[in-house]
Symmetry: C2
Subunit: 329 residues, 2 copies
């Protein structure tokens, strides 16, 4: 991150510097130079990922608390490292701000970012700041994994079991509750937690990679119907999903009329759960849960290159890709 | 870079994939996964830098050729690696585009980006794409250097000689010619080359670092007056600059009335030349030029924490920081 002397930008960078501890064994150079230096461990390779998080497209500055924006921009970028089975090591923050957002909003944003940085053990290494009419965020995460151990999307084979972590559709349910706005929800409402403060599944992703249990893996960012189609395309296979096995949102009685839990689970985005496949021979080694996090088999990989949904009455339909794609009009 | 199946975004990513060769020894995983994998060499450490390049702020889509935008966004990010004395190894492209720019503009942009990627030996490793009303670009560059060999801004000591590469103010001169627009300039005009197609000084930066000749180094992105103030602040020193020694723009007779070469050299941004300091004991080891690129001593580091300009008539004035700062109003 470039340091600007005697200017507002310099004070902005000093505030960003304070958000996180900096382990000097891994990040030996201070934030104020042309670039950051990162020391990878011998025998490991780097996982690199960057993610847009843009006002209007990915969040609403008027609806989402600044703390959530700070937490979520880093958590979702780290989710890509979890999806490879790696460990996050540092991140770069590119931040563009209007002058109206350098007060309370920036404080809240940096507070949320600091919490994510500490909780996910991922210190800031550098970045770039500029002024802009809208809030623009781009996060680059650097992770590491043992050489050759990263789990890709392309390794699924016919007969492999398809698993997901946690419950699907919870983030979309929270978003819809927030949007419906019948009565003002507290941002501390448990049902909003996954939409506002998602947790990348680092422990389970790492365990699956280290024990070579997953043949393919990715994170669920745009919804199961979209993301499973991508995993299948990368692996050159298809899938059969069992509708009745989907771990859906638990909702109150009254809500079951207004919200379709199955639709939320199939097409809701932003859950940042892991989708992974396991060879039959390893099926017995996958536990029902790790800590509080359920691991649920939701179907099997098939040779036929279609994604099919098997309903309770045994009807089989092709699963339409209804998740999020910014370029689909 | 995440691959999206059966969509416009997927086809966009396929087009981005084609811009560069991908050396699989360094980048073993294809572009379509959650993240990229990069293999650093043993005994080396990673240099990480990211840079905004935004429509309206950093370029004008209506005035700058798309090829230049593609070249320059990567070249200026790589300049930060040159300024540490490193070698670029790969980059991540975060691109947000309006649908009106996915035709001719995108072709030109990717063409310029591909040329820079090849010329500067820096293949694409991944990134993120989304739709947006304006063109937003963020480039993350990953470089490498021998462990502990990076040249920082903080190493300048009183008595060190201050050097710059090339001529200063050339990019600003080109920008002003483009803006004045009296007669339409060809984008091939030699005087526009540094503004449109800057070349990061990788060879000289690397040579200075490997031979441990530079005590401090940075690239000149915002203008000498701004950037030298930063180097001095990081090193806790001041400087005396000799106005008559500044390597200024060579301009035609008629232009010497309209343009002030000294002002361009002191405050003009976007040159991406290197600013570095050399201990007296190593002064004899610095050549006058390397290839066609001049190395010019422009002053000395002083203990007093001020940046002073020594004019021809021996008058000494404090050099005001008039370079570019996005947060200065």
């Amino acid at each position: 991150m470039k340091k600007r002397a005697k200017s507002n930008e310099s004070s902005l960078i000093r505030r960003i510097e304070q958000i996180a501890w900096r382990p000097t064994a891994v990040l030996p150079v201070s934030l104020g130079d042309d670039a950051a230096i990162w020391r990878p461990r011998t025998g490991y390779e780097a996982i690199l990922s960057c993610d847009w998080f843009l006002e209007g497209t990915h969040f609403l500055a008027t609806r989402h608390p600044a703390e959530s924006v700070g937490w979520k921009c880093l958590a979702r970028a780290i989710s890509d490292v979890a999806a490879m089975g790696g460990v996050p090591r540092c991140f770069l923050l590119s931040l563009a701000l209007p002058s109206t957002r350098t007060g309370a909003w920036l404080r809240g944003f940096l507070d949320g970012l600091a919490k994510a940085s500490h909780a996910l053990k991922c210190p800031i290494a550098g970045g770039d700041t500029t002024r802009r009419q809208e809030i623009l965020i781009n996060i680059t995460v650097v992770g590491q994994c043992r050489r050759g151990s990263a789990v890709l999307r392309s390794g699924a084979r016919p007969g492999d079991a398809i698993f997901v972590t946690g419950r699907l559709g919870e983030a979309e349910y929270g978003l819809q509750l927030l949007r419906s706005g019948k009565k003002k929800l507290s941002f501390r409402d448990r049902r909003l937690r996954k939409h506002l403060y998602p947790r990348p599944r680092l422990a389970i992703g790492g365990a699956l990679a280290q024990n070579r249990l997953a043949t393919a893996m990715m994170d669920l960012s745009d919804g199961l119907s979209s993301d499973l189609a991508r995993l299948c395309a990368a692996s050159g296979v298809g899938a059969r999903i069992w509708a009745q096995q989907l771990p859906t949102v638990r909702m109150a009685e009254g809500h079951q009329k207004s919200f379709d839990a199955a639709e939320l689970a199939l097409h809701g985005g932003d859950d940042y759960e892991l989708l992974f496949t396991v060879a039959k021979s390893n099926l017995a080694r996958i536990p029902k849960s790790i800590g509080n996090l359920a691991l649920t088999q939701i179907g099997v990989i098939a040779a036929q290159k279609k994604v099919l949904l098997v309903n309770g009455n045994k009807a089989v339909v092709e699963l339409r890709n209804l998740g999020w794609d910014p370029f689909r009009s």
